[in-house]
Symmetry: C2
Subunit: 306 residues, 2 copies
Amino acid sequence: MSIVVVGSVAYDGVETPHGRVDRMLGGAATYISLAASYFSPVKLVAVVGDDFDAADHDFLAGRNIDLSGLERVAGGKTFFWQGVYSADMNDRTTLRTDLNVFADFNPKLPDGYKDSPYLLLGNIQPALQRSVREQMKQTRLAGGDTMNYWIQDYREELLATLKGWDFLLINDSEARMLSGEANLKHAARKIMAMGPNTLVIKRGEYGAMLFHNNQHFVAPGYLLDRVCDPTGAGDCFAGGFLGYLAESGIAPGGGNIDRAALARAVIFGSVMGSFCCEQFGVDRFRTLTRKDIEARFREFKSFTEF
Amino acid sequence: MSIVVVGSVAYDGVETPHGRVDRMLGGAATYISLAASYFSPVKLVAVVGDDFDAADHDFLAGRNIDLSGLERVAGGKTFFWQGVYSADMNDRTTLRTDLNVFADFNPKLPDGYKDSPYLLLGNIQPALQRSVREQMKQTRLAGGDTMNYWIQDYREELLATLKGWDFLLINDSEARMLSGEANLKHAARKIMAMGPNTLVIKRGEYGAMLFHNNQHFVAPGYLLDRVCDPTGAGDCFAGGFLGYLAESGIAPGGGNIDRAALARAVIFGSVMGSFCCEQFGVDRFRTLTRKDIEARFREFKSFTEF
């Protein structure tokens, strides 16, 4: 059951208290695709320049990720982002953003993508997210991510986009901004009235909450021995979340999804986000196995059960 | 199985986004005792002035709380604290602290208290906590709370006190300050080397973590419809936590406590903390029943199970 993933593929320069890497593979769609690929086949839609390394291409292709939708712009350069994290890693400062070829990204789905049952839209301009949604012919579940910039400055466009989504994943401050409600229970109710009947609110190290119809589920974060680099953790959460639902072949009847399946999807999302933080960039996914993922899922059970 | 509770009994003036009360019953020992009293008999040790209302005395006495250790200083006034909460209620500013009779508090246990198997020391000067611990003859479990002030300015005294404790309950920023470790897993290891083999790290709306020997348990916070007044929530957590362990008659063998019992104690602590926030001051405990508590415990199961 394949997932179409749309978003940025980038090079990142990252500095954390544990070290610094000047240039490494990154981007929301990269993280989402890698995490989802442990559960389901992925079809990636993104754009890169001709500086995109063959080794990075091969790494993604080797993880069961279809790259026929990865557009390569001759003479262009790949999106570059550079940032530095605070000592406690709860804040980061952007030092540089070179959109490069990403500035003119206008995602076109290859024909072989349009019948995929699952769609995950990384954080890009809401109008582009909507155009991708409309190119898909028979999705069972479609949704994605957004950010403060679109919530503040592209509100109407975002609301028009959200109407067509089954699920939305955002962090807690964005949920408060989007809804205008400080209380997350009230915020969730307002956001679900905008379209998505499944809402995941990500809370970083504190875990995640899921709302679906009148139910909710709360998962604490995984307690890591060392957070090396949190870049991409939220995207890996999204990839693990939808990856698991796709693997399970979830086909919502009248908008309803089994509560137990959604709860497990949140845990698999948390598992993938936690692995992501253990090494710089996407490095953890060079060695991570499905067996590791299952073991951490069982760990979640053991430290939350009562 | 009775619990001796030591700490402040006070009058509070509190302002939150939901309203303002100029003078109401408060204090750490009050909140701890009320919460614990739903599970086990409580023996309170504290000091008040002769302005202490008969109605407040009767309210506590009516909740199965032994007040023979409540010293009343003639001509003195009860500890008064006044504070105002920020709009999101994650911060509060102290406007006034009149220690009054609490400044000379030197807790003396009535003889009828000294054989209690459980001891919960609210946040007071570490040397006083230690003196109470030494007056007890056969505790099964002793421990308590502390705060940034004692951690920073009374470190040696606090460390000498912690050596005699079985459990410590503190919030996450205090755990980082006490241990000098930003990572909570490392912080827990260092703190447990100071004495307590059970550590609860409270994270406010995000829940709580428990460490015991080499195991840990993480509970998310309860999602309230409305947080009216968070004053006392941490103390109510402590009361529910030890109250449940006392009710269960926990007698650690060689320092070991059953993991399942500790996990349930954390949930009962969370339940009591969440109820506390629903009304101003101690008002929720005027109507709360054990049946309400059991229902919320089951709710915790339903929104965390996967």
